[in-house]
């Protein structure tokens, strides 16, 4: 069937549902979720009992706020006290078909997750909303720059592509150069990677003398795993280097799949899959809801995963919700403007000025000559905090440094109340490269204090 003949939505019935009906559906599913969690998850039952709540108390979305918020720390503690999986899970390990781990950022103990056959079918289904929404169709050839390991990453996206009927190209064990060559040779139309790795593949292609915009058939990049997929400068750079449009998605191991995706109208944000999730935005300090257009912490309730009922889970993700009609695609799912903006704990305070890594990246990425960078925080003489940006330029663009350093330093200072950023040129190939979540901030201030 020609692409134009397919409906624009994966699920026309729900993706265009009036918001009142969507709210009623969420309330009904919430009641069922809470009842199931109370009956089958001792972890949830204890929390409900402690709060003096019974499942039948949850009748409408207004009752949602009576449910206590759940944190990752509680979940980690539950698994530590009752190894291996804790008693948050509703089913025995015998019912599971797959085991995954969180990526363990920030040096924390990873979370262990189990999923059933139905869970995995649902995980793929959520990715289908996103892939179809960004224009993936059965004729597409989808390349996954993904290592297919214990991190859940693009596993669900792989199944979604197969479910849609695409030809899937997995590349688990391939080098970056081999991936680039296969994308061209196999005429891949869609490439899935982290934003960082999408840039890295484009840089590798240039070194191989391949112009992806000219030599490849790629017209869609679907990125995930880092906030950069919605940073305009990063996204623009990816789109220019690939000659393709770039769509952002975001998910988390704790829910197993994505809960937001960018549609092909590219509204500068990501639609929430609201028939399967309730996404609240709360003030991280007070826990009070924040209105449309104001930044706050994502709190997620997920309906589809049988093994792990997630109810009002604090994600520490920073987001800004705007109404669905900010986008012209017709979907009634609200939007996170700018996708995931960062982490609530990302903000660093340097000599009284707040610095977000995302803001630094958006300025650094205005310079396409910069291949990689690192932000390094140090403490001098035990008191004075310093922020440095180590910048690595493309091997053939070293001459750009003098002019760029001046401009970059000024742009960073202007965006941060005049704060001085120390800029250092790093030799080609010296900074770390990333296939999964990039770690571009090193806070060494505690080391200096010791």
């Amino acid at each position: 069937m020609p692409d134009a003949d397919w409906p624009a939505y994966w699920n026309p019935k729900h993706e265009t549902l009036p918001r009142e009906a969507l709210g009623r559906l969420q309330a009904r599913k919430l009641h069922r979720l809470v009842q199931g969690a109370y009956d089958r998850s001792p972890f949830h039952r204890r929390r409900f009992d402690a709060a003096g709540l019974r499942p039948d108390d949850i009748r409408s979305l207004d009752d949602l706020r009576r449910i206590p918020l759940m944190t990752r720390e509680e979940w980690m503690q539950n698994q530590a006290e009752r190894p291996l999986f804790g008693d948050l899970v509703t089913r025995s390990r015998d019912d599971a078909i797959r085991y995954h781990l969180t990526s363990g950022t920030s040096g924390r103990q990873p979370l262990r997750v189990l999923d059933s056959r139905a869970d995995w079918s649902w995980i793929g289904e959520m990715w289908c909303y996103g892939f179809w929404g960004f224009g993936v169709r059965p004729r597409d050839i989808v390349f996954f720059a993904f290592s297919y390991g214990s991190f859940i990453g693009f596993w669900g996206a792989h199944y979604a592509s197969e479910k849609i009927g695409c030809l899937v190209l997995p590349s688990g064990n391939m080098t970056t150069d081999a991936r680039v060559r296969q994308i061209v040779e196999m005429e891949a139309t869609t490439v899935c990677a982290t934003p960082t790795y999408a840039l890295r593949m484009a840089q590798a292609a240039q070194a191989l003398g391949i112009d992806l915009a000219r030599d490849s058939k790629v017209d869609k990049l679907i990125v995930s795993g880092e906030p950069a997929g919605s940073i305009p400068a990063t996204k623009r750079l990816i789109e220019e280097m690939w000659g393709a449009k770039c769509g952002d998605t975001a998910g988390m191991t704790e829910i197993g799949t994505i809960m937001i995706f960018e549609c092909d109208h590219q509204p500068g944000g990501t639609h929430i899959i609201e028939d399967n999730f309730i996404e609240e935005v709360l003030d991280p300090e007070t826990g009070e809801p924040v209105p449309y257009g104001k930044e706050g912490e994502r709190v997620v309730t997920s309906f589809g995963r049988d093994f792990i009922p997630l109810i009002r889970y604090r994600t520490r993700d920073l987001v800004k919700k705007v109404p669905h009609d900010t986008c012209s695609c017709g979907r009634t799912g609200d939007i996170y403007a700018g996708g995931i903006l960062g982490r609530v704990d990302d903000m660093k305070c340097i000599r009284g000025t707040n610095v977000y890594p995302r803001a630094v990246e958006s300025i650094v990425r205005e310079h396409p000559e910069i291949e990689e960078f690192q932000i390094v925080l140090t403490r001098e003489d035990g008191v004075r905090d310093e922020i440095s940006v180590h910048v690595e330029l493309a091997a053939d663009r070293q001459d750009a440094w003098q002019g760029m350093a001046k401009h970059l330093g000024r742009a960073l200072a202007d965006a941060h109340e005049g704060l001085r950023f120390n800029l250092e040129l790093a030799p080609p190939g010296s900074l770390p490269r990333f296939e999964l979540k990039a770690k571009r901030l090193q806070d060494r201030r505690a080391e200096g204090a010791r």
């Binding site: 549902l17 139905a118 995995w120 079918s121 028939d275 995963r305 049988d306």
Partner: protein, 75 residues
Amino acid sequence: MTIHDQQSRPPEHDLHGVEMTPDERELLDLFRRLRRLAERRDLAPCVSANVKQAMVMVWNACNDLALVDAPPGHD
């Protein structure tokens, strides 16, 4: 019509309270039949495993259309 027939007959309305279309009714009926097979323990491995695989896929379609409100179990 026996009581059993009445109970196993698909309801008339989806979770929104809207009357189901003939396609939706058929889909829900198919899901329920597959789930009944998935519950059985006396089927050959090749039948049981493939029925479960099919059942969870059809469940997704029912879930997407608000014909069911919970994961299927027996998977």
